[in-house]
């Protein structure tokens, strides 16, 4: 004798089970939503770090003094500029952050008037061109110095005061 009087209860049980499973799934998935925006947070942090370091390096130690950044640019020491920049970036407690890499570019106006951008630090050996790099920039005022070292680009207006743009490409290897 098969009695089918309880079929409604069976259906209700199945429906309740499904609802509970769905509720549990939704509750678990709300705790970790990985939005597309989250992927850019490390980039934003890296960009802010680089900007802050450049701003710090562009601040003179004394009134009417010359900032570290201007000194590096005027003497054409792009490699030293990179070393100092990276040293300042990694100057913090905990993780030494050895994977940080940088490449320094200088944008200036040629004597002819058009804009030229040139790398002034040695190219990084591990650079592949596929790095997820951020670019930070800083305007630098040069007071004009006829005796710029030969490392500087030839077509820079050496004797006149000018404004140049220091660009640093920053990434983690």
């Amino acid at each position: 004798m098969v009695n089918d009087a309880g079929q409604l209860y069976t259906m209700e049980g199945i429906a309740a089970g499904l609802i509970m499973l769905l509720a549990a799934y939704i509750v678990v998935s709300t705790t970790s939503i990985y939005t597309t925006g989250d992927t850019h947070i490390p980039d934003m942090q890296l960009e802010q770090l680089g900007s802050d370091v450049l701003a710090m390096m562009d601040t003179p130690d004394s009134v009417d003094g010359e900032s570290q950044l201007v000194k590096f640019i005027e003497t054409g020491e792009g490699n030293d500029l990179r070393e100092a920049f990276l040293a300042n970036c990694t100057m913090r407690s905990g993780d030494p952050d050895n994977s940080l890499r940088a490449q320094v570019y200088l944008s200036y106006r040629r004597t002819g008037g058009n804009v030229n951008t040139t790398p002034i630090s040695r190219e990084d050996e591990s650079y592949t061109g596929r790095e997820n790099a951020v670019r930070v920039t800083r305007w630098v005022q040069l007071t004009g110095n006829p005796s710029l070292p030969p490392d500087m680009p030839d077509d820079m207006q050496r004797s006149d005061p000018q404004t140049v743009l220091v660009e640093v490409l920053l990434w983690r290897a």
Partner: protein, 127 residues
């Protein structure tokens, strides 16, 4: 129908309420993904550091304004304007006027205009 027991109707009603509540939760979960995306895009697109940097460059220019004659000043101005256009895709213009007496300080009115196609920034200040 005669054999059906109607005493459990409030259970059905609660079930309906739970379903509606779940629906609203699902809508909220959907929106949170969208909010994260637009916020991050807004933050990334806004050229905060560019504008700050430009302001300091202009103020540096104002600081040396009196040291140089008009040809040199024009060079410095064109440096900023043309490098901004070439390297930052930003249209920039700025002007400096004669000093005015502001609460006992001699300050120059400075107007700065910045437009990179997404963000437009205009400022009039005294430096």
């Amino acid at each position: 129908m005669a054999r059906l027991n109607e005493e459990g109707q409030w259970i059905v009603l609660m079930g309906l309420l739970v379903a509606v509540a779940l629906f609203f939760l699902a809508v909220i979960v959907n929106q949170s993904a969208l909010v994260g995306q637009t916020t991050a895009e807004g933050v990334l697109e806004f050229p905060k550091n560019d504008i700050r940097d430009l302001r300091e460059a202009v103020f540096d220019y104002v600081d040396v304004y009196e040291m140089y004659g008009e040809p040199t000043r024009k060079q410095l101005r064109n440096d900023i304007i043309e490098i901004s256009l070439e390297r930052k895709n930003a249209v920039v213009s700025f002007s400096v006027d004669d000093p005015q007496d502001i609460l006992g300080h001699e300050m120059r009115p400075v107007t700065i205009h910045y437009n990179n196609g997404v963000t437009v920034y205009d400022e009039t200040t005294y430096h």
